[in-house]
Symmetry: C3
Subunit: 208 residues, 3 copies
């Protein structure tokens, strides 16, 4: 039951990630194929990076090729509806936040299933949650937003810690996941609403 909800949220989240990536492609004036590719890489890149680093094969889109079709189609569908998306801004920021916590919990679950130690479970959740956006920014030749934006990676770490804590204190997978995702989502939405961010490190002596 919890797994079915998580799966449904996962599908909604990869669609949302592909669509916001398509807008980033549009800002760079990419062609339609570029839009599709950037959508797929952004939506599925985090899980792929995790699986490659942990040697967890096959990758999700290799096992379920329909994910490639779904995210590619979502990116392509963004082109005609982009002009209306501005009014849906809040919805997409919400779905992006949902994606962050869902990806994180899924990534933690994969590492737990491989009997990884605690730190790797957290790292696996964070890689799953954050690397897709990093790849999008690299392919757009930007400094990754992750390194500067509102508690993005922090929310992922917090969600992973809460999920593990839930498991540790005897809650089952489903309850731990729902609790961790709810609190992580609330933290992210509050950070967006109030502009919370981690302190920045500013350093400008150039001697390297």
């Amino acid at each position: 039951m919890a797994d079915q909800i998580i799966h449904a949220l996962y599908l909604a989240a990869i669609v949302a990630e592909a669509m916001t990536a398509a807008l980033a492609a549009g800002r760079r004036e990419m062609d339609w194929i570029g839009v599709i590719l950037l959508g797929c890489v952004t939506a599925l890149g985090g899980g792929s990076a995790r699986d490659v680093l942990l040697d967890h094969h096959p990758l999700s889109w290799v096992e379920h090729p329909s994910y490639l079709l779904l995210t590619g189609a979502a990116a392509l569908a963004t082109i005609p509806i982009a002009r209306f998306m501005h009014s849906l801004r809040r919805l997409f920021l919400f779905l992006d936040a949902v994606g962050l916590v869902v990806f994180t919990v899924i990534g933690c679950g994969v590492a737990i299933g491989m009997n990884m130690p605690l730190i790797i479970v957290i790292a696996s959740g964070m890689i799953t949650g954050c690397v897709g956006g990093v790849l999008r920014d690299i392919l757009c030749a930007d400094v990754p937003l992750l390194f500067r934006s509102e508690l993005y990676a922090t929310v992922s770490v917090a969600t992973g810690l809460l999920y593990i804590a839930g498991r540790h204190f005897g809650f089952n997978h489903g309850l731990s996941a729902v609790l961790a995702m709810s609190i992580g989502l609330a933290l992210r939405l509050l950070a967006l609403r109030f502009g919370w961010s981690m302190p920045k490190f500013v350093y400008h002596e150039d001697w390297h």
Copy 2:
């Protein structure tokens, strides 16, 4: 027989890819080692990405280290002859197009050999054909050309589809490959000649 032709074309193509990558390195004023490395990564990066994502080991250059020597030497040899290459511009664009279709067919063949589903066979061909150039552009801190240029990825998808269709309709590997590569090559050369390209997606409301 077809495999020998494909192998010979593969060698010509990785040499051509390494040489055009060396010119890109020269535009960025890289040193000789940078030229060699960029040549190797561009020529062999697509197949490596495919193999890492599909868990298909050893990688081609790990199994055949001479590919590293060949592409590194080709990149280095580009330095003294760069001034004459302008007159060979058409030859290099031709070899680059050959590389695209050859890499694609080889990538499809790897995925077929692993009994992958249709969509993954196409994706494998495209990754093999296109990722080398994407890595080159990332290492030069450019937005990848792939996302904006004349039907590059499109030709790769079309070649893959034609190859699979050939196999599906009972042609053997060699005939399917030759047909798919010929049509794909023609499409790419026509796109270069007439400046065909996919429509662009231009979007400049900045709200993300």
Copy 3:
């Protein structure tokens, strides 16, 4: 005994790499999480790339998660002490050079342990030594320094060749490693001191 020295140098080197990466993060005004992540990726990225390409699992930080804590903490600790680091400039350049040769020898050792051919042993050393810095530069949206700086990759290749030559001429692992690292280190320090660099390839006809 030699292995213990190499291990101690390895730990010092990943700390130094994480700290210089933290300064690069500060130049880009990243937040604290970005500083930590860039530190971990720079310090551990070279070995991870090697392991993924050679299918050598588990990755070092997956097997020893404490490396993530160590490099993350070193990056974070850089923030308050950055203002004093300028006076330690020479120490950090020295530790960075130590890292280069230590990573190289470790990377060669991994490939030798997998019975790889000579060229792959050299490539494995170079990937281990150099890719961390390349990832740092990509994440900062810079053209990788590696491709333009003082004999960096060259020192890695030379160190690898010396190590292999030592083994080939019957020295044991420890002696070969110490000799190769000493000569490689000397070469790198001389290159820094006298501004030695590889010749550059400058090419500005734009026809691609």
